[in-house]
Amino acid sequence: MVELIDGSENVSVHGIFNWILLLAIFSVITCIGNYIGYEHPIGDSLVGMGILSLITLIGVWMERKLPLNISSIIYISVIGIIIALPIMPTSSFVLHYVSQVELLSIVTVFLAYVGIGMGKSWNEFKALGWRAVIVTILVIASTYLGSAIVAHIILVLTGVPV
């Protein structure tokens, strides 16, 4: 529990300011990529990124402020699902702008940060040896193929048309 308390102490006004600016930078880069790759108007996609950033901000803030031990990923998912539900008044506004941001544009920027960040693990990675690499590759492949095949069987059994 100690680390939980430590975590929430860090959330000062200053900290939230850092989050907002980082999300703003991320949004701008994503919208530029989104414009080059898919020619969506930058203005509309910025509003879309603004909505997504706000959901993220609330989720991350809730994880640190609420006394529950729940990951921000779950808060963010639940908020995102609720505001987009067809019965919600927010739905048409949210869908209009968020649809202007292609998922792949977000992914492309996100993975650029992942690429730079994972360079740091490179030395540890090299020390592990080829045997562990083989096991990792097989583990990833089996988890993916396992769930794809199970999902396919259930979809066919329940008669979902392709």
Partner: protein, 292 residues
Amino acid sequence: MRDNDGQVEHIYREKTDRRILRKNPWKDVRLHGTVLVLVVIAELIGTITIPLSHDVKITIMPLIYTIILGLAFYLVKPIKWIHRKQARIAEGAMMLFIGVLIAKLAVSSGQSIALIFDMGPALILQELGHLATILVLPIALLLGFKKESIGMTNSIGREPNVAVVVDKYGFNSPESRGVFAIFIIGTVIGTIFISFLVTFSLSFLPLHPYAFAMASGVGSASMNAAAIGPTLAAFPGMETQIEAFAGFSNLLSFCVGIYIVIFVALPLTEKMYNWFEPKIGRDSIVKTKEDD
């Protein structure tokens, strides 16, 4: 990771907080400028499709360029402005940016909530498909791993799984060493590997588009991101459904996946280990390494 004994569950949040909240990570022009350049280059090149035969094709997407170029920028010596500091900020910032990705998927899920309820059985049961990792255990044994193999093959070995294994076996146990190895290797090659795996699966396996979408929720946001890319490209016109299933199955992996690991996968992996190890176990390679 190792300087955080016993607090593995929150290592990421702490790291993120330390790097994001106490410094001014947005000021790092080198990092964000580099990312912008990488993204512009990647989007300008665009998706490359290589046809292998008339209905089998390989798709290489901008997301592959940015991840490989990002890693290359860190590793290649002549590039002097991307250092450990930038990598640390990138790693911290990444944990915040995952949120944006998850939010986008969640909006698609909310929009398609009726469809998600219709596909409920498949969505829930495919989580059990992740148990297929245990099938790798005999191979790990043949390669000379001992108890490490339990940590290696019980799950995909991402943050929550590391926490579970360390919690159960202790920080310095062979099982934990195994899961750390999978974690580190998965961090470096997992994203690139899964995007190629998905591309090949899409070409060679005649599965339902929804099955591919659901399977991409493997319990790691970056691998999920890399897996959705080729799937979206393979089924044009189904973007919203694919995003909805991918997002929801990732959410399920986060909520119930961890309990499947604790109550099903780990006990099953141990049983498999006890059964297989006397039959095919080799001399431990890890032990000889330690003796050197």
